[in-house]
């Protein structure tokens, strides 16, 4: 039903629609200026579409796949199909000196009807000068996503990228990993018919950027699942994946804006850099009460794989089925989802989600809701059964009851209200004033402890510098070719210590005027304190049902 409606609404704006596929492009452009009804239709359409994805048998998704093929052969320039803007593009294409490879000019239906002339990104110095660009395109050169700027206007750039990658792949049986130029690095990864490129002026190393691109790829998988995507691309190489991803761009955007390139000062980037997650500090008894509440109410439910309780981007508790566990990269996706979606706060939600590292081929169904109006902790119950909504809803209600009775909700609220993340940690950090910031990660778990950011790292500039320092030492310690065990560096503005032992990794930043013996003394003191308070800040093993 939806399919028939949208063409009639939108096709009026494009007189040259040689095929119905343009309607699909049209819907993603909000400045259409056609009937207002279109917008509501779009939202509804997108909701429907997500449900359809989950079911995988929807006529809609088949049809959409069908429509995607008529977007024309990616390799042949076909200006007639568009409304003429692509002619400008054709003129501005740089001819590559690749005499042997097919010069890919993907002026295909990626261009929608634009109400402004093509934005010439190559001359837009603001765009060029952005700290971080992420581009996602399909192997056939179809644009899928661009962090800055609208991806359908970057078709030539994507064509160039695709040509470079495929040239190296086919004529040299090799794969581009990275390009370095003064002040900027380009990192390329290829996954399952997608090419992901990062162009970065930030301080992240090649391996860190590769991990970021992997995260983005996992986010895409999380929406679509690996098998679905492979099937689509197998059938039609030049399918336009954007249609299936509309709505998840904000998730990708949020995932990528965790570091300083988005001008936010927060501890989130350290989670990513150390490939771990932070744990919500709670007294051991409170945490075990919470866990037993969850266990008691959920153990009878079959097909419930994970129960995750999150607050403020930190993990409160995780209960899992025996034999299964969640990888930190998957947890990052879950955190990202919760952080992005305000609607979860008011309603109970039932959403399909794929955890790529857990199982990249199937959807888990998540019941997501906040515990209570007055408690901003979010509970996710992940099940393989897609009809389990009501069972899980009841379970959640019972859990909230129990937690309220045990005063655990109060404890969580108290923790959330602390301005400095945790009073005890704050005190400890203050007792060593020369210690400015640290990251502590035990080797046995993928969890991280870091104090709140305080002076001088509260300003964006200083925070960027701190991030650069951490990126640098983390890269040097974990370098594939030349790993290190210890770095002690005295710089102009701080002393940096990185120390890897058999049980933990510690990265710390001190005032620059402290002498070595004092630094060692402080570090020892800190380690002892952490080990004493270990169970407040870390979860040793996750409980099972």
């Amino acid at each position: 039903m939806e399919i028939e409606q949208t063409p009639t609404n939108v096709a009026t704006s494009d007189t040259n629609s040689t095929s119905e596929y343009l309607d699909a492009e049209g819907e993603s452009d909000p400045d259409e200026g056609v009937a207002d009804g279109v917008d509501e239709q779009d939202d509804y359409y997108q909701e429907q579409e997500r449900e359809a994805e989950a079911q995988r048998h929807s006529i809609i998704s088949e049809l959409r796949g069908e429509l995607g093929t008529r977007t024309g052969n990616a390799l042949s320039p076909d200006p007639g199909a568009e409304s003429g803007q692509s002619k400008d593009l054709a003129a501005s294409v740089e001819s590559l000196a690749l005499s042997a490879s097919a010069s890919v000019k993907t002026e295909d239906s990626g261009n929608t009807v634009d109400d402004e002339p093509d934005h010439d990104y190559q001359n837009d110095s603001a765009w060029c000068g952005q700290k971080k660009h992420i581009f996602i395109l399909s192997e056939a050169g179809k644009p899928i996503y661009s962090l800055h700027g609208s991806e359908d206007k970057l078709v030539t750039l994507f064509g160039v990228i695709q040509a470079l990658v495929s040239f190296v792949q086919h004529s040299q049986q090799d794969a581009i990993t990275s390009i370095h130029a003064r002040g900027i690095k380009f990192v390329f990864i290829q996954r399952n018919s997608l090419i992901l490129v990062a162009a970065s002026r930030t301080n992240m190393s090649v391996q860190q950027l590769q991990r970021q691109l992997s995260d983005v790829y996992n986010q895409i998988l999380s929406t679509l699942t690996y098998s679905h995507m492979s099937k689509i691309f197998e059938k039609r190489k030049n399918f336009d994946l954007r249609r299936l991803l509309s709505g998840s761009e904000r998730l990708i955007y949020n995932l990528l804006s965790n570091d300083s390139s988005s001008k936010r000062v927060s501890n989130n980037v350290f989670d990513f850099l150390t490939n771990s997650i932070r744990v919500f500090p709670l007294a051991t008894s409170t945490r075990s009460n919470i866990i037993s509440a969850i266990q008691a109410n959920c153990s009878k439910i079959k097909d419930l794989v994970f129960a995750v309780l999150i607050a403020n981007n930190q993990l409160i508790a995780l209960v899992r089925m025996k034999k299964y566990s969640i990888h930190p990269a998957d947890l990052r996706l879950i955190f990202n989802l919760i952080e992005c979606s305000q609607s979860f706060k008011t309603y109970e939600n039932w959403t399909p989600i794929c955890l790529p590292i857990f199982d990249k081929n199937g959807y888990l169904h998540a019941h997501v809701s906040y515990l209570a109006e007055d408690c901003q902790a979010c509970l996710l119950l992940l099940s393989v059964d897609r009809n389990a909504f009501f069972t899980l809803s009841e379970a959640k209600a019972r859990i909230t009851e129990k937690l309220r009775k045990n005063h655990c909700l109060d404890a969580i609220n108290e923790g959330l209200q602390q301005p400095y993340n945790d009073a005890k940690l704050y005190e400890q950090v203050l007792s060593v004033p020369e210690l400015r910031h640290f990251l502590y990660k035990p080797k046995t778990t993928a969890q991280l402890l870091c104090p709140m950011l305080r002076h001088p790292y509260k300003s964006l500039e200083e925070f960027e510098r701190l991030e650069a320092v951490y990126c640098n030492i983390l890269h040097r310690i974990h370098n594939n070719a030349r790993p290190l065990k210890l770095i002690y560096e005295v710089r102009e503005r701080e002393i940096v210590l990185a120390w890897v032992t058999a049980t933990y990794e510690l990265y710390a930043v001190f005032e620059p005027i402290v002498d070595k013996a004092t630094v060692i003394k402080y570090v020892d003191k800190l380690i002892k304190w952490i080990e004493k308070e270990y169970d407040v800040y870390f979860i040793r093993t996750h409980a099972t049902f």
Binding site: L164, I179, A181, G183, L484, E489
Partner: protein, 472 residues
């Protein structure tokens, strides 16, 4: 179960020079390629390779106006780019180290791209250019001289580089010394050093047409004069390649014994490849401009003297050679003898105490680099094998840590101190201050941070105090 079967180190895959402005028209792309090694590859492949490099350079231009693409890493290769003059690009393509492992009976190749230290090989690439420029001048000038004829230019470049590449195939052992283009100076006592210095100053004063005078003993520099570090390095490389090894160059000895065997430098004489023709012209920067100069080389005993005359003057005549020879002959011989005696004394002294340590490699090694004069001083034996040598990852780490020589008029260099412990229990201590970098390498697995600092301090004080009397 994986087993390491074989490890292949870094090798040179290809090296080429191109200029896009020479082959703009369809069908003439081959003209872009000014040089390509190895030469026996099909022309089409060469064009494709050059095309890929051009495409990468253009791609980076999209995002940055700095025309400074440095490197392309693929899974199996590393390509390094260098643009010494606008439009002319030199590209060095390396095959990354490869390890062939057998996993469950199947042979799998693992490419270790991250072990290639970009900075080191980028410097090697720059060296190629500098050596070319030393002998022939800039590519731009050469092109102008040939009226922009790409084919002729290519021929000229080819003759030169074929020789150079042949001698520099060994890329695996390149390390930080190569990276910084630094040279080891001969450590001399104060008196001898001043004598040598005075000698060259007097020579320049007596013969004003001599612009500069550089003295070498064997392959170590005694006094470097005011030659820029880049030129000094190129000169040093030239001498090593052409003079010290060439046993067949006739000796243009005037008043001494007839040519005979070239080992017979007892009385000293000029070295010139072809008698009666003007001497070699090289391009060096004296007085801030790159200009051609005549290079005269005079050898006696183990000392080589390089004299530079501005090429704007007429080439020196026989009388000039005679005059110079007469003037300095005997002085130089006695100086050379004294230096030789001192050096052999030093060698003996160095040998004696280390004979007991030769089986263990626990003795700390150090490396000192003066960024401004690009002089280095070290007891690391770069060509040692087996037990004595420093593991490759340590040398690569030092390259990572090293600071490139910066402009002297730039902001004051940061002062830093750094201690690093590697996974194979080597400690590297680095101090940087006043444009001088000091590295100490210790291999004591039981040492703690404080111990290492103590030990490094001791070595700094012991070995690296005689900075004052070095040149510049």
């Amino acid at each position: 179960m994986t087993k390491l079967l074989q490890r292949i180190e870094v090798t040179l895959r290809s090296f080429y020079i191109f200029n896009s402005s020479y082959g703009q028209t369809e069908g003439e792309e081959y003209k872009k390629i000014l040089y390509y090694h190895p030469n026996d590859i099909e022309l089409n492949t060469k064009i494709k390779d050059v095309g890929l490099s051009e495409a990468i350079i253009t791609f980076t231009r999209t995002f940055t106006s700095d025309d400074d693409c440095k490197a392309l890493h693929t899974q199996k290769t590393t390509q390094l780019f260098y643009q010494p003059e606008p439009g002319f690009w030199l590209v060095l393509v390396l095959n990354v180290p490869k390890e062939i492992k057998s996993k469950d009976g199947i042979e799998v190749a693992e490419y270790r791209g991250s072990e290639v230290c970009d900075r080191i090989y980028h410097s090697v690439l720059r060296q190629f250019y500098y050596i070319y420029r030393f002998q022939y001048g800039t590519l731009q000038d050469n092109a102008l001289a040939l009226n922009g004829d790409a084919v002729q230019l290519a021929k000229k470049i080819q003759e030169f580089f074929d020789k150079i590449i042949a001698t520099r195939q060994q890329l695996a052992p390149c390390d930080i010394i190569d990276m910084l283009h630094s040279i080891q100076y001969l450590p001399l006592g104060k008196a001898l050093f001043l004598r040598a210095h005075n000698f060259s100053r007097m020579l320049s004063a007596t013969f004003p047409v001599l612009k500069e005078c550089i003295m070498l003993h064997n392959d170590l520099v005694v006094c470097g004069g005011k030659l820029s570090s880049v030129d000094l390095y190129s000169l040093h490389a030239y001498i090593l390649d052409n003079v010290l090894e060439s046993c067949s160059a006739p000796v243009l000895a005037r008043s001494s014994s007839p040519s005979g065997s070239s080992d017979n430098y007892q009385k000293g004489g000029f070295v010139n490849n072809v008698p009666d023709e003007p001497p070699l012209k090289v391009q060096v920067t004296l007085d801030a401009d790159l200009k051609p100069h005549y290079l005269l080389i005079y050898r006696v005993l183990n000392v080589t003297l390089c004299l530079f005359i501005d090429a704007e003057n007429a080439p020196p005549k026989h009388e000039f050679y005679d005059d110079v020879h007469t003037y300095m002959g005997s002085q130089l011989i006695s100086l050379a003898r004294d230096i030789a005696t001192e050096v052999s004394k030093q060698n003996l002294a160095a040998l004696a105490p280390t004979s007991s340590n030769s089986t263990t490699d626990c003795s700390p090694k150090y490396l000192f680099i003066n960024e401004q004069s690009l002089k280095h001083h070290t007891n690391v034996d770069r060509h040692a094998k087996g037990q004595q040598s420093i593991p490759r990852n340590v040398m690569n780490l030092i390259a990572d840590l090293a600071n490139e020589p910066t402009n002297i008029d730039g902001a004051a260099a940061a002062t830093e101190e750094l201690q690093v412990k590697t996974t194979n229990d080597f400690w590297i201590v680095k101090r940087r201050c006043n444009w001088r970098q000091y590295y100490v390498i210790l291999s004591n697995s039981k040492a703690t941070l404080l111990d290492v600092t103590q030990e490094a301090k001791r070595i700094f004080e012991q070995e690296l105090t005689d900075d004052v009397f070095f040149d510049k």
